[in-house]
Symmetry: C2
DNA sequence: GATGTCACTGCAACAGCGTTGCATTATCAT
DNA sequence: ATGATAATGCAACGCTGTTGCAGTGACATC
């Protein structure tokens, strides 16, 4: 009964990296997977307040998840990094930042725009950031 | 001999705001206008090292220029803000960040991409960030 | 050109996010 | 069960950006 289509659970994803599966890593990756928005370090720290996870460990796990390709690290315009689990966001997507509540959501994008870069410039990654008002704050 | 087509000089632009035209403001706006890339606070501070301009003044002038519409403030993924003079960049443009040297350039974009936002989300501004290698670092 | 007002500057101290070093702990292979 | 070592916790630090307040300099007025 293999499940090739089902998304990997956090623990399975961690196991697949070959590194150690620790409580902090499971907790943080689970959190990112369940969240419907990109979480800041502070968000994660508060959510894990009951689990005695050190600030520094949160930073290290988030960066490690990013380096393993299990999370995306995006820069906010509040000088904060935000993280979202990958997997459900494999498709090209943009980041929507609500100017009222500050939350960042991932939204799918149809196509990436054409670019006319100056000679010699090589594009490796294109990031689309939208700013506006989210449904909750608008409604 | 009016010059309606010529771009306003930094001093003229400052004068037009109605606020005081100070040495720091002229120096910083001139710097931004001449630069071919977006400058960080540190860039500005170093360039003005001989002029005895305080760190805090640089921050305040940069933010003030932004609020007056004379400069754009963009968030970098190094937890730094970068500023570029507006005027030559009135057209819609994207920001190209070189992963090697870290410099940020403004590049023109043909059209903004179509977006299918979730219900209730209102877009107010779209920002396009490209990451890659700049001409100097590639060559 | 002199004078007064208040916007702007400089200085100092602070705040927040993220990083580094090192001793300790806990995961996993054996 | 045991040992190697990856990962954690703790403490101290660094950097970007902010705030409060006293002093100065730009500009309007005379």
């Amino acid at each position: 009964m293999s499940k090739p289509i089902a998304p990997a659970s956090p623990t399975e994803s961690l196991r697949a990296t070959g590194a150690r599966v620790t409580g902090a890593r499971v907790a943080i990756l689970s959190l990112l997977t369940q969240a419907n928005r990109a979480l800041s370090h502070r968000d994660v720290e508060q959510a894990l307040a009951n689990e005695h996870v050190d600030r520094v460990t949160v930073y290290r796990v988030l960066d490690w998840l990013t380096s393993e390709g299990l999370a995306h690290k995006i820069a906010d315009d509040e000088r904060v990094f935000r993280f979202s689990a990958v997997g459900k966001h494999d498709d090209p997507h943009a980041h929507f930042k609500c100017r009222t509540c500050g939350d960042v959501f991932c939204v799918p994008t149809g196509s990436t725009p054409k670019l006319n870069l100056p000679a010699g410039f090589k594009s490796e990654e294109v990031e689309l950031n939208i700013k506006g008002t989210c449904a909750r704050c608008a409604g």
